[in-house]
């Protein structure tokens, strides 16, 4: 784990009309580390992620990738940096099949933009196999025919197929059963072991304490603090989520008492 974070946000702000969704949020994640992002509904977790992914442009603040300042204007920019996101709503096209969704927006093609179907199908097979996704009967069936867990697997597989550096998962287990949640959590750990920087959003503190190295708490669009998993308790996190005070306000200690 190097000292420079792979991805770092400093003082990020974002508003929608009169709603200040994020104010001066700091956030970071290192290679080989799982950073959890937690907070109540509406705290701004998905908004942070979409700012990083280039879906929203930030109003203020800076983004650093491997210590260098970067501007992310769109999803393509994020992809080029190696930032991959599994969105809360999965962002799959129901009318397209598994292969087509895996390569959405990044189709393999030749010089005259003809699709290279065999190449895409093979790589999809490989990726799904490497993630031990075995329940999908045909990767040529539209994702509309898949179960919630299978769709989740496709969305996750899509994010890890691209030699990514940073993988961000927004509530990846919310729709899953016990066994599938287990698979996703194992995958998250494996990605970090492979040296990737992983960010996971979840409401399940039990899961988070199992996989995360550190936990960032958001409350009402502000970051309340970063906690080391080894040095904190679920109780402390819960009270930070519900009553945490932003660290940026002068005179307030970083640690929040339970």
């Amino acid at each position: 784990m190097s000292d420079t974070p792979t991805l770092e946000l400093r003082g990020i702000s974002k508003h929608f009309g009169s709603v200040q969704a994020l104010s001066e949020v700091d956030f970071f994640v290192h290679d080989g580390e799982v950073m959890a992002l937690v907070g109540d509904n509406g705290a701004g977790k998905s908004t942070v992620i979409k700012c990083v992914a280039g879906i929203y442009t930030i109003d203020g603040g800076e983004v650093f990738f491997e210590g260098k300042p970067v501007t992310i204007h769109g999803p393509k920019d994020a992809g080029r940096l190696g930032i991959e996101v599994v969105y809360q709503d999965l962002a799959l096209c129901d009318n397209l099949d598994v292969v087509q969704n895996m390569y959405l927006g990044r189709e393999a093609h030749d010089v005259v933009y003809r699709l290279r179907e065999p190449e895409m199908e093979l790589k999809t097979q490989e990726t799904l196999a490497s993630l031990s996704v075995t329940t999908v009967r045909s990767i040529r069936q539209p994702v509309a025919t898949l179960s919630g867990g299978q769709r989740q697997s496709v969305a996750v597989a899509r994010a890890v197929m691209w030699n990514s550096r940073v993988v961000i998962l927004d509530e990846p287990t919310a729709a899953l059963g016990v066994a599938q949640t287990r698979q996703v959590l194992d995958l998250v750990k494996r990605l970090a072991e492979q040296g990737l920087a992983v960010v996971i959003v979840s409401h399940n503190l039990h899961d988070i304490f199992e996989v995360a190295n550190r936990i960032t708490v958001l409350r009402l669009g502000r970051d309340v603090g970063v906690y080391d998993r080894a040095k904190t308790t679920q109780q402390e996190i819960v009270s930070a989520i519900t009553a945490g005070v932003p660290t940026k306000v002068a005179g307030v200690a970083e640690e929040v008492e339970a």
Binding site: A53, V85, L92, R106, H109, P118, P142
Partner: protein
Amino acid sequence: MSTAAPPEVQQVAAEEQGGLGGFLRARFEALRSGDVGSLPVIIGIVAITVFFTVKANIFFTAVNFDNLIPQMAGVTTIAIGVVFVLLIGEIDLSIGFLSGVAGVVVAELQMPGSGHDLPGLIAIALAILAGMVIGGIQGSFVAFLGVPSFVVTLAGLLAWQGVIIKALGTQGVIGIQDKQINDVANYVLAKNVGWILAIVFVVGFAGAAVGGQIKRRRAGLRAGNPILMLIRVVFWCGLAFAVVAVCNHSRGVPFAGLLIVFLTVLGTYVATRTTFGRHVYAVGGNAEAARRAGINVKLIRILVFMISGAMAALGGIIFASRLNSVDLTAGGGTILLDAISAAVIGGTSLFGGRGFVKAALFGGLIIGMISNGVDLVGYSDSTKYITTAVILLSAVTLDTVLRRRQAAAGR
């Protein structure tokens, strides 16, 4: 079945639901859950043929079929553009009068003694370009400003009708003497040329089908069952030869027929085998997902409206060519509804993301057969309007109900 995939992939997808023996079972299951494929089209064509043959003996003859092709060519061409627009989940109501504008442009540009009596092919190219630019402008309102396409193109419908009336002035009609322009709808290919084209089609089609399978096999992927592929090839090639045989029994294959088949094949290729086509389906399936995947959704929308404008223009040129003139009725009547009906009847969903370019060809055939048959039997225009309306409403209702059913079946 994902309609965005090329045929060899669709075949494999169908077979993977349960092997060759399970293929028919899989099709039956798909049918029950609302994926009816081309069944309504086939039933429609058979029913219409039987009905009009009973009513008018001349309906089911080679001569009439030979006449039908140029009659359906204009609407079919416009409908190809409609398929693309429906695939991205939008609508284009301007295509009728836009086709009329293109007719006026082409007639005006070729007019002898007007100071710009351009050669036919150049006039045609400029008219198509005009349609493309107009489509691009309308599409920009949709893509950049988010104005509903329904409203933008409804305004277009009115505006282009106004332009036609203004352009034709008090005289109200422009005759077309240019041979190249008049040939578009009226030229008939020599009989041996027709046979040669059938052979070219067969070689190309079979080559593509076999090539697709070989490519998959080489890559170590499961290739479709060769027998099923053979059936598909034999069916389409048989159809091609049958069409040429029937036409040659009369005067020969109309050039307009060659044109619509070419446009259908080209459109299918673009839709299923290029990144652009894939992005069109993606935008129609889930525009937000497409945007997050880095697809330039605005650009795709504008390009699709440009295709729609260009195809409408070409359709308008075919209409003008058929009449050897344009008049104040250009682009009006049932053209708009016929073109949209053709795309929908052929199996393109109004809800975006599902459909085939070939839907335009088969839907156009059905619409053309009704119009042709109604004329032959001697029913009035009122009958034609009501029949087309009923068929359009049925097609849209079918689409809506099946969609709900597919959703319920998790498809």
